[in-house]
């Protein structure tokens, strides 16, 4: 087991793979409201990302165990799947946000305290390292079920690394 395998086998994505792909760059650059990134590389019986998608961007599952496949032309970055996914595996990234150095991420969050709009938070990568600061733009609870969708302004260069935030005490 090499280091990459060890990381992946413990729940850390190290490279794109089936069920965990990056959006197409050209479409992504100018897509207002952003595109979804789903990191769900294992076959498990679960399909709410598809059944909740209002535009059909998460394609129908032949088998409920299939990894999600995305039709990026249809994704509007609405983040419904971010709020619904039981695995907290959906993240929306809007590259059109703010100036050229910034981007907006819409992240699922279920910890306390609830982040406050306008506050600065730590941005964590897939192994929990704080790699930058971000600013909370909006805090929503779309399904009224205690899963928060946090909109955070982050450095654009870090969007493929940041996967959660930590409230700064």
């Amino acid at each position: 087991m090499n280091e990459k395998e060890r990381l992946f086998n413990s729940g850390v994505l190290v490279e794109p793979r089936k069920g965990a792909v990056e959006p197409p760059e050209d479409l992504w650059q100018n897509k207002k409201n952003g595109l979804v990134i789903i990191e769900c590389p294992q076959r498990i019986p679960c399909n709410p990302c598809h059944t909740s998608c209002p535009t059909g961007a998460v394609k129908p599952f032949k088998d409920i165990n299939d990894q999600p496949e995305i039709d990026y032309e249809k994704c509007t970055g609405c983040a419904r799947c971010v709020a619904v996914c039981p695995g907290l595996a959906c993240f929306v990234v809007d590259l059109t946000w703010g100036d050229e150095d910034n981007a907006l991420m819409k992240l699922p969050y279920e910890m306390l305290p609830v982040p406050e709009e306008g506050k600065t938070v730590d941005c964590l990568n897939r192994v929990g390292e704080s790699i930058s600061r971000g600013k909370v733009v909006k805090v929503l609870e779309p399904m009224h079920d205690r899963t928060i969708v946090v909109h955070v302004e982050v450095p654009r260069s870090k969007v493929m690394e940041i996967r959660t935030i930590r409230v700064v005490k």
Binding site: S10, I44, D63, I64, N125
Partner: protein, 375 residues
């Protein structure tokens, strides 16, 4: 002889369901919906079994209420039960203590002093599972918990078990309980896992990893440290034969939480003389069953973790199947309705078992399933 408590006469019921978790509740609901009179007994103070501690959202499809938190699913089942309250009699705090093969009577104790005997027409055993524990030096110290106890303290009684936890086992329970502990403000020092990958869903592992929790693959707990209570733990890497190698790592924790698997609760099935078989993939001894979940005993069905360790979503569907099976054998409702429901439930089960984790379950089921018992 001095008799403690009250002894009452022999009671009757068409169907006795033992255990009010996801499987038992589903079996009761299904049997009642097909016209059966059901008695449901559960040893706990509230119905719902382990569901009432599950604060995470469930996987599956809409049929299994994917995206709904476990305790909400329990509430939904109890609302459904309310609709059948004229057909389902519930006894809480009630333990089924024995099955008597000679007359098919089940003995039950409510609390500590009310005893009764009941003669059911049919029985669904939905007795759930018991936690496994690991032997290691000092595992008797206060602060060493099973994951079930930690979840009960936290999510039923609102008590944080400690400040800093070492989780032993990265199956779904270990991963989910770690996440829930973090939600309660408790720090997770690390998760040790003997295998070379997490046993639970990858996404559950990703959730705790991105909050900085290390998962030590191919590691085990060597000993607990502490004088009167847990003050730390020693972990160590293990090789292919699970032998300790490499250097020991000492971790400061006040809680060691074991999530190293479950095993089916099957004493009553043994007592009833059901044909039993040891199936490692289902985590212990389980009853042979047919496609209706009927055991080799013609009046006894089994469902949920008691039939083999699996997710609650599968337990609920198995309970439904057992409920139909019982109603069918009692001649309730028409058989076309039975067939329609069975077809639907079997399709759902096949879907739930189609993934990576489900493969193991399917292998196990091949070792203990018969098409139909000879009459």
């Amino acid at each position: 002889m001095r008799t403690r408590g009250k002894v009452k006469g022999l009671r009757q019921t068409e169907v006795l369901v033992i255990g009010g978790g996801p499987a038992g509740l589903s079996a009761s609901l299904e049997a009642a919906s097909l016209g059966c009179q059901v008695t449901l007994v559960d040893s706990d103070l509230a119905l719902g079994g382990q569901l009432i501690k599950q604060t995470h959202k469930f996987f599956g499809s809409k049929d299994e209420r994917a995206g709904t938190r476990g305790f909400k699913i329990s509430e939904i089942l109890l609302e459904e039960l309310e609709r059948y309250k004229d057909r389902v009699k519930v006894h809480m705090n009630c333990t089924a203590t024995g099955f008597y093969r000679e007359d098919g009577v089940v003995s039950c104790v409510i609390g500590e002093d009310e005893y009764f005997r009941i003669k059911p027409g049919k029985i669904v055993m939905a007795t759930g599972a018991q936690e496994r524990l690991l032997p290691f030096p000092n595992n008797h110290l206060p602060g060493v918990y099973g994951a079930g106890a930690v979840q009960t303290l936290m999510n039923v009684y609102g008590v944080a078990p400690g400040k800093r936890v070492l989780m032993v086992g990265a199956g779904n329970i270990g991963l989910i309980v770690s996440y829930q502990l973090m939600q309660a403000g408790v720090e997770i020092a690390g998760i040790v896992e003997a295998m070379d990958r997490v046993g639970g869903y990858w996404v559950h592992a990703a959730k705790v990893r991105r909050m900085g929790v290390p998962i030590y693959l191919r590691h085990t707990i060597k000993e607990a440290l502490g004088d009167r209570v847990v003050a730390g733990a020693v972990i160590q890497e293990i090789d292919d034969r699970f032998q300790p190698v490499g250097k020991e790592i000492q971790i400061d924790v006040d809680i060691i939480c074991m999530a190293v698997g479950l095993t089916p609760t099957c004493e009553l099935l043994w007592q009833a003389g059901c044909e039993m078989v040891f199936v490692p993939q289902l985590c212990g001894h389980v009853a042979q069953r047919d496609l209706f979940m009927r055991t080799s005993h013609p009046d006894i069905w089994v469902a949920g973790d008691a039939a083999g360790i699996e997710e609650a979503s599968a337990a609920m569907v198995e309970g439904r199947i057992a409920g139909v099976g019982v109603a069918r054998s009692l001649g309730k409702d028409d058989s076309s309705e039975h067939s329609k429901r069975l077809e639907e439930y079997r399709r759902r089960l096949a879907d739930l078992r189609g993934g990576e984790v489900g493969q193991k379950i399917c292998q196990g089921l091949e070792c203990c399933t018969v098409n139909e018992w000879g009459v």
